[in-house]
């Protein structure tokens, strides 16, 4: 393996850690459908970037951040559930995205394509992913209180609206980081599936976060290594491995039982 290949693997593992940690709270907050849908918001961004001949990832990042802020703002204004608002934003984004992106580009955008990244790109991506992981670890107490009871969180001095926005932005950036190798359609799955399996297997916060991150890293690396051997794109292989892990978790009793 070339050093560039190694740095891409390190990036993938770092993104998986971030996805596992972000996903742990998405599962606990019961916003998994929203989580999946947010990743599709990247599509119109990729389409616009291709039309404007700029880096597709840049378009995706901008659109994901705009999507996250829109979901947050509409939710605050209308008091609708995150799932509902995300559903609306997602459907609109998918419709616009499919009109802007065509053919091979659309398939790549949806399912991801294995790309070797330059050291600068891989380094920045890895640092961002680790930053998101650090955000979740540092903010875990606030996130726990806000999900258990908004009243307890508020009276403990937590600014709920700000925390929600921070979380949604971290979520959007995580999705953007994974678009290269998983694509817009499947990145949401890397956030949700390992976390859903971890929820089946654990009964305390530390294990939930740890197992979710570990499963995300494991399935990602296995998927990346396996994909060329089975002649498939990395995204579907990673998600298939993750789905099998979830299936195994359903069959297995909870750890510690």
């Amino acid at each position: 393996m070339t050093p560039l290949g190694a740095s891409t693997l390190v990036l993938s593992a770092a993104v998986a850690v971030a996805a596992g940690l972000i996903g742990a709270f998405a599962v606990m907050r019961r916003m998994t459908l929203a989580a999946d849908a947010i990743s599709h918001v990247a599509l119109p961004g990729i389409g616009l970037a291709l039309i404007l001949r700029v880096q597709p990832l840049l378009g995706a990042v901008v659109m994901l951040l705009l999507g996250a802020i829109s979901i947050w703002a509409i939710e605050r204004r209308t008091h609708l559930a995150t799932e509902t608002v995300t559903g609306v934003v997602f459907a609109g984004a998918l419709a616009v995205g499919s009109m802007l992106t065509t053919g091979e580009e659309l398939i790549d955008a949806l399912f991801g394509t294995p790309t070797r990244l330059g050291p600068w790109e891989a380094g920045l991506g890895t640092a961002t992913a680790l930053g998101i992981a650090a955000f979740i670890v540092r903010r875990r107490s606030r996130l726990v209180l806000s999900l258990v009871s908004p009243e307890v969180a508020h009276t403990s001095g937590i600014r709920l609206a700000r925390l929600d926005l921070e979380y949604l932005l971290a979520f959007a950036v995580t999705v953007a980081l994974g678009l290269r190798f998983l694509g817009a359609l499947l990145m949401g799955s890397l956030v949700i599936i390992p976390a859903a399996a971890a929820r089946r297997l654990t009964r305390d916060l530390r294990s939930m976060l740890g197992v979710s991150a570990l499963l995300a890293v494991g399935t990602t690396l296995i998927g990346i290594v396996l994909a060329p051997h089975v002649g498939q794109k990395t995204g579907p292989v990673i998600v298939t491995v993750a789905a099998l892990v979830f299936l195994a978790s359903v069959l297995r009793r909870r750890l510690g039982d």
């Binding site: 107490s141 209180l145 999900l147 908004p150 307890v152 009276t155 294990s207």
Partner: protein
């Protein structure tokens, strides 16, 4: 000088509410509510379902938009026990996870967790249990323990004893009585039980159809008021009023 300032602050009402109104859309839930509480008071908020009791608590802590004034004394720290959680209890969270989260957010020392657990009578075994595995009574005690972390000067308890057996209720109220008597804590509690009001409250606030009655229980809870609030004078009265 500092002592003078401190004793002056202690003289101030803990909570002053003036002309508080809350409306959702066209419906007014709370109308022109005014009252104030001194340190060490126990206020019971009673009224039929939908009278705005939980809305009042949310307005007091600034979680719903309202007209009028809500003013807490400087330095007030609030411990809140919610009526229900934002999510299902079936989470990968232990009691200790919840208490550690609260201690972390409010910057309480680590021994505050142990002391809160022992105050509500929860042991090490319950602390390690997932919150979904606790009984209704144990879970209410856990929420009370979480509220006690950070040494709150005011406790807001939204139906803290609902789903708790009689022994559990007695233990919870014995703890509240002790906090009030020994530490001059102020307690605001929502209850459906008039015996709680007579047994533990220094003040009662009755809410019904956007109207309100406030004062000592024996003055406020007249036959006429009870009939106007509940349409009956016998609802949930288990104990005779204390003399």
């Amino acid at each position: 000088m500092r002592t003078d300032r401190r004793s002056m602050l202690e003289q101030l009402p803990v909570l002053e509410v003036r002309s508080l109104s809350v409306s959702f859309g066209r419906g007014m839930v709370l109308r022109d509510l005014s009252f104030q509480l001194e340190r060490g008071s126990v206020l019971a908020v009673i009224g039929p379902n939908g009278a705005g009791k939980t809305v009042l608590f949310k307005a007091l802590v600034g979680m719903v938009r309202h007209a009028g004034l809500v003013s807490w004394a400087p330095g007030t720290r609030i411990g809140y026990v919610p009526q229900k959680l934002g999510v299902e209890r079936d989470l990968p969270l232990t009691s200790l996870d919840l208490l550690q989260a609260k201690a972390d957010v409010v910057g309480a020392p680590i021994d505050a967790i142990e002391s809160a657990l022992s105050m509500v009578g929860l042991g090490a075994a319950e602390a390690r249990q997932a919150i979904g595995d606790l009984s209704g009574g144990q879970f209410q005690r856990l929420l009370l323990a979480a509220a006690l972390i950070g040494d709150p000067s005011v406790l807001l308890l939204d139906e803290v004893t609902s789903g708790v057996d009689e022994a559990g209720q007695e233990r919870a109220f014995a703890l509240l009585d002790r906090l009030v008597a020994e530490r001059q804590r102020t307690v605001l509690l929502i209850s459906h039980e008039l015996n709680v009001v007579y047994g533990h409250a220094t003040h009662v606030l009755c809410l019904a159809r956007a109207k309100a009655w406030f004062g000592p229980p024996r003055e406020v809870l007249t036959t006429e008021t009870l009939r106007e609030i509940f349409g009956s004078t016998t609802l949930h009265v288990h104990d005779a009023p204390r003399s």
